[in-house]
């Protein structure tokens, strides 16, 4: 029987962002040997152009939502939200990278090509409706990020970050894949919608195997979102990786991994929600506690932000525990807010750390308020948002998450989460005290003047953070509408 396997125009339109990013990434690689050093800034410009085009493509695809490639891919509000989010993260990563790469004398097209490939993988994860597509997207994203983490090839710390990220990342992928195999064996399909149908049907397969598969996938994805007890890699990787890359890793792959997390566990494994619930709330609680208490003891800013990122993964897991549309919308909102404030905070660190990334300690931020008032003000916004102070995106993120938890009668989890936020306030405020109340040290005196690109890299996340804090309803409406579409 001849079947038409060719992709239709609709399929291709629904795959537009990935196509744009892949074509541009490949073009950058091929252009590099041709252009050599002549146009090192052009690579960044081209990447930003591709990402803007990709955002346009994602929005255009949303005008005609539906599945593509025989149900392997799905374009719905949820997919579009996360696609746009990861591409915005990409732009916000490239902006501070101009200055950073120039300072480290490491401007190449590979950096941008890898970034684009990684984002293409994340877009694919956001739109995946099939476990194998999830796996391929996850690997496209991860393999490029391994290289990016070790981008400064002659820097020992960067090497080490790449090695640890690579070893633990592949280890986690193997777990995820074993879960996929067991799901395939018990249900007979890897399509998320079909799995849901099979699990809620009358002759559902034995729940033992499905729970085992869900647990294995949970381990795999838990690693990717750096949730405790699978968080061991995060501090070393974020500390060792080049700072813009660390910012990217803490926002992009994490948001995409959470998108997959929500889709797999709420769509495919939704019918057995009661079976995997204990796993998620334990991980949520552990992540919040381990992240926040370990962050208290750090002296390196990047390492501290890494532990805080573990804690923030815990908050998002609380939203997943709620297993409701409110929870999903809260997680989506939180991930956007988190992306803005965290990338902003890392951008400040990348500027202060100077050539060779020497100044990474909290002490090195001393007196920044006097030397660089504008940068200090931006840092203040990001840190207040990370704490969750009203009028910032972080506040509403936490607010909606704990609201969703309360609606699902998880009072104790919400209470423990709030207590954790109080602990977190201490280490963020410690930085602010250092910035405003101490005499300028060696590092603050050495910082270079701000370039226009870098100003943009600070102002855009700050505006995003404030926008989410002052007008949260617009984004929340978007998220709320998309959240009901997940199933």
């Amino acid at each position: 029987m001849p079947v038409n396997f060719g992709a239709t125009a609709t399929d291709l339109i629904r795959f537009l962002p990935e196509i744009i990013l892949t074509v541009m990434g490949t073009a950058l690689m091929v252009l590099d040997p041709v252009l050599h050093k002549r146009a090192s800034h052009a690579f960044g410009h081209l990447s930003i152009f591709a990402l803007l085009a990709g955002i346009g493509g994602a929005v255009y695809a949303q005008s005609n939502p539906g599945t593509a490639f025989g149900g392997m891919l799905v374009v719905d509000g949820f997919a579009t939200y996360f696609r746009v989010l990861v591409m915005v993260v990409g732009i916000l990563t490239i902006l501070p990278s101009y200055g950073f790469l120039a300072r480290q004398q490491a401007e190449t097209s590979e950096y941008h090509a890898l970034l684009l490939f990684s984002i293409a993988g994340q877009c694919m994860m956001a739109a995946a409706n099939d476990l194998i597509i999830v796996f391929i997207g996850l690997e496209i994203s991860s393999i490029s990020s391994y290289v990016l983490a070790g981008y400064l090839r002659d820097d020992k710390r960067s090497n080490e970050a790449a090695l640890k990220y690579f070893l633990l990342g592949s280890f986690a992928t193997a777990f995820f894949l074993y879960g996929v195999a067991i799901t395939y064996g018990t249900v007979g399909t890897v399509n998320l919608t079909a799995i849901r149908a099979a699990l809620s049907g009358a002759d559902a397969p034995p729940v033992v195997f499905i729970t085992l598969a869900a647990a294995l996938m949970f381990v795999g994805l838990g690693f990717k979102v750096s949730a405790a007890p699978f968080q061991v890699w995060a501090p070393d990787v974020y500390q060792g990786a080049p700072t813009p890359v660390a910012a990217f890793l803490s926002a992009g792959p994490k948001a995409a991994a959470f998108a997959v997390f929500l889709r797999i566990f709420l769509t495919a494994f939704g019918p057995i929600g009661a079976d995997w619930l204990p796993l998620v709330w334990m991980a949520a609680l552990l992540s919040m506690t381990v992240g926040n208490f370990a962050a208290l003891m750090q002296t390196n800013v990047k390492r501290m932000l890494a532990y805080s990122s573990i804690a923030h993964a815990g908050y998002v897991l609380v939203a997943l525990t709620a297993q409701s549309d409110t929870g999903t919308a809260a997680a989506m909102f939180y991930l956007a807010a988190y992306a803005f404030m965290n990338i902003g905070a890392f951008a400040v660190v990348s500027h202060v750390s100077g050539r060779g990334e020497r100044y990474q300690n909290i002490d090195d931020l001393a007196g920044l308020g006097r030397k660089q008032p504008m940068m200090a003000a931006m840092l203040t916004i990001f840190l207040l948002s990370l704490i969750g102070v009203p009028l910032t995106g972080g506040f509403f993120g936490k607010f909606y998450i704990f609201k969703a938890a309360l609606e699902s009668h998880l009072v104790w989890l919400a209470v423990l989460g709030l207590l954790n936020s109080a602990v977190a306030a201490y280490y963020y405020l410690r930085i602010l005290v250092m910035v405003y109340m101490h005499e300028p040290g060696e590092a603050a005196g050495q910082t270079e003047p701000l370039t226009p690109g870098f100003r943009l890299a600070l102002i855009l996340p700050a505006l995003g953070t404030l926008f989410l804090g002052i007008f949260p309803t617009w984004v929340l409406d978007c998220a709320g509408k998309s959240a009901t579409l997940v199933k």
């Binding site: 391929i136 393999i143 090497n159 090695l163 280890f171 193997a174 067991i182 395939y184 064996g185 501090p235």
Partner: protein, 103 residues
């Protein structure tokens, strides 16, 4: 058709290989060996895929195994390159010596 080896044997073998991979990852100290353990885990999963595919009389599982192999090869190339830079910078392949970041 001849009586086949029961499907559970393949699945048990796959589970044992996967567990060996996990054990190797946790207990071995040489980076290359640790990396090989990960490859072992991926191949164990491949065995599962092919077994399930055979059992369900589908070709899908075989194709998934193809995808896993390609991804594993890409991962191997990147991994070996990373390990090579580690060796160039530190002249050691012991995983306990690659530990320069702690407070």
């Amino acid at each position: 058709m001849l009586t086949a080896v029961p499907i559970s044997w393949f699945l048990t073998l796959s589970a044992v290989l996967f567990a060996l991979g996990v054990a190797g990852f946790v207990f071995r100290r040489n980076i290359i060996t640790v990396f090989m353990s990960i490859e072992l885990m991926l191949n164990a999963v491949n065995l599962s895929f092919v077994t399930f595919s055979y059992h369900q009389k589908q070709v899908n599982g075989h194709l998934y195994a193809f995808f896993v192999m390609v991804v594993a090869a890409a991962e191997a190339a990147v991994g070996l390159a990373i390990i090579l830079t580690i060796f160039k910078n530190r002249s050691t392949l012991n995983i306990d010596d690659v530990d320069s970041m702690k407070n």
